[in-house]
């Protein structure tokens, strides 16, 4: 099935057999909000791909939101997370995301003839790109999204608590933004959980959407991309609220989570304490995090 068709408009319904111009003014299931959300830059060179990437980021998670999907996560320095769940713990997810992500991107670039989705499309990819498919209620989607599948089934492990309270119905009912849900979701309905991220020695901070990630590994990768390996496209995609200043500071905090770099990733919790990221289950972290700080290890006393 051709993923873009689902995203960009339903005229692929196909009866028109791809009659010219059938996409104009067509029902687009991606609302204007999508474009606003994605970034403040006006023109992305690959609009189709960008929208897909957004979907990737939100729904696949492990691929690393956005650009990360094309780079094999395992090959990156993120291979080792000694402290927390490592890439090895998610071998299936990692490989799956790589394969799905590449095929998703392929589809983005392939010609989207108005014909019906062909039977030969891999059944694996079809599901994850269409708004409102599979047809599940918001509530259920959120539940599934926030229940982390812990790699080890410990009796006590209390998996991700609901973090929805932060996202709140407020988003849905504010009159200001239209369609906050349709805007962000290809798939999951959860709204964003943007928190500030500051890095020692870098004057300008960033913001990261914690809800676009489903584990520490992804988050660390995103932060790595943000602060250490900036490219224009990444910052262009990533930045939503902050300005698009390219982070030139790249002194190599590449292993934020396993304690092997000169920086550590910390967060301020609800009680105002600064804590090391990675100790508690992801969901619990989401519930208590207020902001992040990439701190020089030398300053992180006793850690």
């Amino acid at each position: 099935m051709d993923g873009t068709l689902g995203l960009l408009g339903g005229t692929a319904g196909g009866g028109s057999g791809g009659g010219g111009g059938s996409t104009t003014g067509s029902a687009s299931t991606v609302s204007k909000e999508d474009n606003l959300v994605m970034s403040s830059e006006v023109s992305s060179p690959y609009p189709d791909e960008t929208e897909l990437e957004l979907g990737l980021g939100l729904s696949l998670g492990v691929g690393g939101g956005g650009l990360g999907s094309n780079s094999k996560p395992a090959a990156a320095p993120w291979g080792q997370y000694a402290r927390i769940l490592t890439a090895k713990d998610f071998p299936s997810l990692v490989s799956k995301s790589s394969s799905t992500s590449s095929s998703l991107v392929t589809k983005a670039n392939s010609s989207t003839a108005g014909t019906k989705r062909s039977a030969s499309d891999s059944p694996l990819n079809g599901a994850s790109q269409v708004v409102g498919w599979p047809p599940l209620r918001t509530y259920r989607m959120n539940s599934l999204a926030t229940q982390a599948k812990a790699p080890t089934a410990e009796d006590f492990s209390s998996p991700c608590e609901e973090n929805e309270s932060k996202n709140a119905v407020v988003d849905r009912t504010t009159s200001g933004s239209k369609n906050p849900h349709n805007a962000k979701e290809i798939f999951f309905v959860k709204t964003s959980l943007f928190v500030k991220v500051n890095m020692d020695g870098v004057g300008i901070g960033r913001k990261v959407d914690l809800n676009a990630h489903n584990c520490y590994e992804n988050l660390a990768e995103t932060l790595d991309d943000m602060f250490c390996r900036p490219t224009t496209t990444i910052t262009a995609r990533r930045s939503t609220v902050e300005e698009n200043d390219v982070m030139t500071e790249a002194s190599g905090p590449s292993k934020l989570l396993d304690g092997s770099s000169e920086f550590v990733l910390t967060y301020e919790d609800k009680e105002g304490d600064w804590m090391l990221v990675g100790d508690v289950p992801w969901g619990m972290f989401l519930n208590s995090v207020k902001r992040l700080r990439i701190m020089r290890a030398s300053e992180a006393n006793g850690l």
Binding site: M1, G6, G9, G10, T11, A12, G13, G14, G15, S16, G25, S26, A27, T29, S31, K32, K96, T100, K116, R117, A119, D121, P123, L124, N125, G126, A127, S128, V130, V131, G132, W133, P134, P135, R137, T138, Y139, R140, M141, S143, L144, A153, D155, F156, S157, S158, P159, E162, S165, A168, V169, R172, T173, S175, K178, N179, H181, N182, E185, V189
Partner: protein, 573 residues
């Protein structure tokens, strides 16, 4: 003959009519029956809140005590309807308050419920007994606090799958000490914490409590204490079901559970420690309803062990991680099964967890009483559907959802037309059908031909041409709701029989081939339809090109003309 009976007798006879459809029917017989019926109707069901105005409902049924309202179109559940589309309950509550209606029950589905509405509700109707909110949004726990504080005779507060903002107040503590009338309390969908001590006290003093569904924030030790206070429960939804199975608390839970011999329905398990499951085995034998569809952390093997105990199940909601083999166990164990729902646990569709046609066939073979199914699966074959149709001719609801919406039969690579055709042909009582998989116009031909009782049809990514939709509109005489997305049906189909839509509640078409001009034509011909065009991207106005395709169209019959609360992006033609 009946005309010579005094009104009281007629009223007494009408009392025996349970369903609103029957009451609607008798009200059409003659003027006096209409009159008697309207003054005696206490339960009013409004399937589309915009089909009629609150004032007119109250005028016709002044003695209304129980009101059921549905708001947004069904596809709103899947994010296809912008959140400010409408469906506000406030005007209804205001109208009833003004008119002095003695409201005792309010049931809402897919409506926008504000805290203001809840507060007004609580203040205006001292006799309110029952509030049921399903798939609603717009309120916070402050609104619930108002209900708890003011409704002195509350028996039922049932919140199902709503989006509720948690204000971290103590809404549950707002139930006064004098509240002892609760029969049903369901707050499973709330995300925040509740005061556990208040909860325990509440349960302790409400001896009539039959149904209690806790939320995720209520831990297992609290559950244990609650069960000690409420062994009479019939329906239980656990909160967080995680504890050390070697602990004292867990042992206490086991003995508490053993005393709960009335439990017939079980749900919850959002957080679950599988090793704690054995505590509930004693009640499994009596269970008629089991909902494990949020329990993604129970492993396949534990699930199967659990199912082995549940031989009386009539309703089972489960995740697809049970697998085809697990469904085989269900089939051989649960001979009384009537309703099965299998939900996806891994929505990306790449997991190996999903079920296939095998599971469905096994269920159909093992469970002769099956009449309702919702099945999310990786794939489906025509052969399987044909077998299922033969095994289970009693389906009333048949909803199939392939994770890839246009997947063909993987064995033959054919569309699933024949399979669904067999279903509609065999299941003569089928009222609700949802299709998925690769489908051509042929399936609609079958539906039009055979699905004589069909009331609701959901179509996605199906069909080749207008003929498909026409088959359905022409053939399904009892059709009430038709919802279509991403299918190539256009103006010809839409306009072929405009009168049909007045016999239906509503029609939804999104991402189809319908143009603005056709919608305008339809609206002009049928003044008693509201034809709403929803265009979030480009605001539709008078200057838009008629040839422009309409992104989303929702039309419904109404007696009160265009609604006044439509947002900017909704244009009623």
């Amino acid at each position: 003959m009946m005309n010579y009976f005094p009104d009281e007798v007629l009223e007494h006879v009408f009392d025996f009519l349970e369903s609103h459809r029957d009451r609607n029917a008798v009200s059409l017989v003659c003027q006096s029956w209409y009159r008697v019926e309207r003054f005696s109707r206490e339960k009013v069901f409004i399937g589309n809140c915009y089909a009629i105005s609150p004032e007119r409902v109250i005028a016709r049924f002044p003695r209304v005590r129980s009101l059921t309202l549905k708001g947004k179109p069904h596809f709103a559940d899947f994010n296809l309807v912008p959140s400010d589309w409408g469906g506000f309950v406030l005007p209804w509550i205001e109208a009833m308050a003004r008119s002095g209606v003695n409201l005792e029950e309010l049931r809402l589905k897919r409506m926008v419920v504000s805290d203001e509405s809840l507060e007004l509700l609580a203040r205006s109707f001292p006799n309110l007994r029952s509030l049921v909110l399903v798939s609603c949004e717009g309120f916070t726990t402050d609104g619930l606090a108002a209900i708890a504080s003011n409704c002195r005779f509350l028996t039922e507060l049932d919140l199902q799958e709503n989006e509720v903002e948690d204000r971290r107040g103590q809404w549950l503590s707002c139930f006064p000490d004098s509240c002892t009338s609760l029969v049903s309390l369901n707050f499973a969908c709330l995300k925040g914490e509740v005061n556990l001590a208040a909860l325990e006290r509440l349960v302790a003093r409400n001896h009539n409590l039959r149904s209690l569904r806790l939320n995720h924030a209520v831990p297992l030790d609290a559950l244990q204490k609650i069960l000690m206070q409420a062994p009479q429960l019939v329906d239980l939804g656990t909160g967080s079901y995680v504890h050390d199975p070697d602990s004292d608390t867990y042992n206490k839970l086991k003995s508490a559970v053993q005393k709960c011999t009335s439990i017939r329905s079980l749900s919850g398990f959002l957080d679950v420690a599988p090793r704690c499951l054995p505590a509930i085995y004693p009640i499994c034998l009596n269970l008629t309803s089991l909902n494990l569809s949020y329990a993604s952390l129970i492993h396949n093997s534990e699930l199967i062990k659990l199912i082995h105990h549940c031989s009386q199940l009539q309703r089972l909601w489960i995740l697809d991680c049970i697998g085809d083999k697990g469904l085989g166990v269900v089939a051989s164990t649960c001979k009384e099964l009537q309703e099965l729902r299998v939900f996806p646990s891994d929505i990306h569709g790449v997991g190996s967890a999903a079920v296939t046609e095998e599971g469905l066939v096994a269920i159909s073979a093992g469970c002769p009483k099956l009449n309702s199914i919702l099945y999310f699966c990786q794939q489906m074959t025509n052969a399987a559907l044909i077998t299922v149709a033969k095994n289970c001719p009693n389906f009333i609801r048949f909803r199939l959802c392939t994770l890839n919406p246009t997947i063909p039969d993987p064995v033959t690579m054919q569309p699933l037309d024949e399979g669904f055709g067999a279903i509609v042909q065999s299941c003569k009582g089928l009222k609700r059908l949802s299709l998925s998989g690769l489908l051509t116009d042929q399936v609609f031909l079958y539906i039009g031909m055979y699905a004589e009782q069909l009331e609701m049809l959901s179509v996605a990514f199906a069909g080749d041409s207008d003929k498909g939709m026409l088959y359905v509109l022409n053939g399904c005489k009892k059709l009430k709701k038709l919802e279509i997305r991403d299918s190539p049906f256009g103006n010809v189909a839409l306009l072929a029989d405009v009168g049909k839509y007045e016999t239906m509640r509503s029609l939804w078409m999104s991402s189809c081939e319908v143009t603005l001009g056709a919608c305008k034509t339809l609206a002009k011909k049928m003044p008693r339809l509201n034809v709403e065009v929803i265009n979030e991207n480009d605001l539709i106005d008078a200057s838009s090109d008629d040839r422009q395709k309409v992104e989303k169209m929702y039309l419904y019959r109404t007696l009160v003309g265009p609604r006044e609360d439509a947002p900017e992006f909704v244009w009623t033609l």
